[in-house]
């Protein structure tokens, strides 16, 4: 429904809350910045299933190509075979726990990768079925419910536990998604890019939160779409961090990064990511945490 020209948001999912009017949020050990790194393990399908929606400019490969697109399919597969291990090594070196957004096709078909992520202490969160099937406003409520449940079921089967977090492939949502996620037992969602602190969402009885990320620092947004150079990407990461670190002295900030191992995990990009994270961790006053840890803390502070 079009906006009604009245106070506040033009949707029911959360309150209007400018950051200057909020109570002070403190992170554990008085850290100024909570750092959450989300690594996306998603599968592009050989053919988009009938009725499914895949964005037209889905990153990877050469320019958008007709079927069969071996280039884009395999370029994205690089993350599952090579890039993820480079990134996990870098995160481990800096003492940063990984939050893995894993789609159902990955959970179902890459048992080694699932086990590896669990063995390394990663938190695994829901990420839909595949990047070739994103949630959109054209799904019926029943379809969306089934989609969310099947994504969760695959993770339960593969990992032994239900995910607490959710990141939609390509940030896909309908206007019902937060409520349906909450009803499916999810506690936080990473699709909303509108803040530098977690915030509560209005979904019904159970508490539900947004873990917002900085969209411009998303690797697809920066590297694949804006064609930012590797050196400039490193600079944007460190300079963003520096400002959050400064602002976080007065009121804690969140830096959540959304990275695809097939993109930032390439040999020529990994050193820049490594250096950016080194800078952040050297500054002190940083709390590297998983999505769940951040939301749990936030909830305890704001209850």
């Amino acid at each position: 429904m079009p906006a009604q020209r009245t106070f506040g948001m033009d949707h029911p999912h959360h309150e209007w809350s400018p950051i200057i009017t909020r109570p002070v949020l403190r992170w554990p050990h008085d850290a100024r910045v909570a750092l959450c790194v989300i690594l996306v393990l998603e599968h592009m399908e050989w053919q988009v299933p009938d009725g499914a929606f895949q964005v037209a400019n889905l990153a990877g490969g050469s320019a958008p190509r007709a079927f069969p697109d071996y280039a884009r399919l395999s370029h994205r597969e690089y993350g599952h075979r090579v890039g993820i291990f480079r990134l996990l090594d870098v995160l481990e070196k800096h003492g940063i726990p990984a939050t893995i957004a894993m789609d159902a096709l990955t959970a179902d078909n890459y048992p080694f990768l699932v086990r590896h992520c669990l063995d390394r202490g990663c938190e695994i969160i829901g990420h839909g079925v595949s990047v070739s099937r994103m949630i959109t406003g054209e799904m019926s409520e029943t379809e969306e419910r089934e989609y969310i449940q099947s994504s969760i079921d695959s993770l339960v089967k593969a990992t032994g536990s239900a995910p607490l977090g959710w990141s939609g492939p390509e940030y896909g949502e309908s206007d019902r998604t937060p409520r349906l996620l909450a009803e499916a037992g999810i506690r936080y969602v990473c699709d909303w890019a509108n803040d530098e602190q977690p915030f509560p969402m209005t979904t019904g009885d159970s508490p539900f939160f947004a873990l917002p990320l900085l969209y411009e620092l998303d690797d697809v947004a920066s590297l694949a779409q804006r064609k930012v150079t590797v050196a400039d990407y490193q600079r944007r990461l460190t300079e963003s961090f520096d400002v959050l670190h400064e602002d976080g002295a007065a009121n804690g900030r969140l830096l959540a990064l959304n990275w695809r191992p097939w993109l930032v995990g390439q040999p020529f990009r990994i050193a820049a990511v490594d250096r950016a994270l080194a800078h952040m961790m050297e500054c002190g006053g940083v709390w590297p945490a998983t999505g769940s840890q951040i939301i749990e803390w936030y909830q305890s502070q704001t209850a």
Partner: protein
């Protein structure tokens, strides 16, 4: 992955047989200039428009590319020759028929050749299986007639293919396909006829066409990322050999304002020990002879 098209078994880089290159090299480096010809008046078969900017001809875009053959190619040879690089040409085979001086320059340097189709304006999308069979026969025969060499691999024309491409390549006796970007090492590609086909990592990232033309970066940046790629693969290659490819197009890298960055890149890389400067033909043959069976066997432990 067992997912469609089920061509490549999953093999995580941290758990697979160790690759040792000849002379214990860390990185197998292959340089792949794309020597192409784009038709002045191509046929649009309806899947992809060769010259989408204007009705044909598109003299601006046609001549931009033809510049590569008249001028850029010859300039590009200078830094390559300085380092004695033996290239693996990604070749539109009709170039051998149109431009004999280019054919001669490549043959004289003992370059290897993979097919990149006949023309860069003729795609495989609409080929029936028999048409695609005839296409491989033509590529093989044309290369043999002009160079005496046996064709061994292909980068699809303009990176196009059909669902049958790996099967039909293997059936025609080819041993490698470079349209796959999933790894820093060669990997087996499953085919339906008992042939042995492998992926040799070409690059869609270290490719002047993506970096300079599609994505509008500078040549200095191209040199920077080539060096950064080399540094990382060189480090990792101490444990298990890696492949690095630099893909070039003379109409791009051969521009006067760019050429010094190719020289700079090669100066940097070739100053290292432990680099096997080779071709995709040799990488594929070496991998098939030494690691293909191991890789296939090892992959069985990762199936879901």
């Amino acid at each position: 992955m067992a997912l469609p098209p089920d061509r490549i078994d999953y093999l995580p880089i941290i758990d697979r047989p160790v690759i040792k290159w000849p002379n214990d090299a860390r990185v197998a480096l292959w340089i792949s200039p794309n020597i192409e010809h784009y038709e002045y008046l191509p046929v649009n078969e309806g899947v992809r428009d060769p010259w989408p900017r204007t009705p044909y001809p598109d003299v601006q875009q046609y001549t931009y590319r033809d510049y590569g053959n008249r001028v850029g190619f010859w300039r590009m040879l200078e830094p390559l020759d300085k380092h004695g690089i033996r290239c693996c040409i990604s070749l539109n085979l009709a170039v051998l028929e149109h431009f004999p001086e280019i054919a001669e320059a490549m043959i004289e340097r003992d370059y290897d050749f993979m097919s990149h189709g006949i023309y860069n304006t003729r795609y495989l999308y609409t080929c029936t299986q028999d048409e695609e069979r005839e296409f491989y026969r033509d590529c093989i025969e044309t290369l043999r007639r002009h160079t005496g060499k046996q064709l061994k691999g292909m980068l699809g024309p303009a990176i196009t293919g059909t669902v049958n491409t790996p099967d039909l390549m293997a059936e025609a006796g080819l041993i490698y396909h470079t349209d796959w970007f999933h790894d820093d090492q060669p990997t087996p590609i499953k085919v339906n006829n008992g042939g042995r086909l492998v992926s040799v990592p070409y690059s869609i990232e270290l490719n002047d066409s993506s970096v300079l033309r599609d994505n509008h970066y500078s040549a200095e940046y191209f040199a920077d990322i080539c060096k950064a790629q080399f540094d990382r693969l060189y480090e990792e290659g101490a444990e298990s050999g890696r492949v690095m490819c630099i893909a070039l197009h003379p109409f791009l890298i051969g521009q006067p304002h760019r050429i010094k960055y190719l020289e700079d890149t090669l100066d940097y890389i070739m100053a290292h020990d432990g680099v096997w400067q080779t071709t995709a033909d040799e990488i594929a043959e070496y991998y098939i002879a030494n690691y293909y069976d191991q890789a296939v066997a090892h992959a069985q432990r990762f199936t879901a």
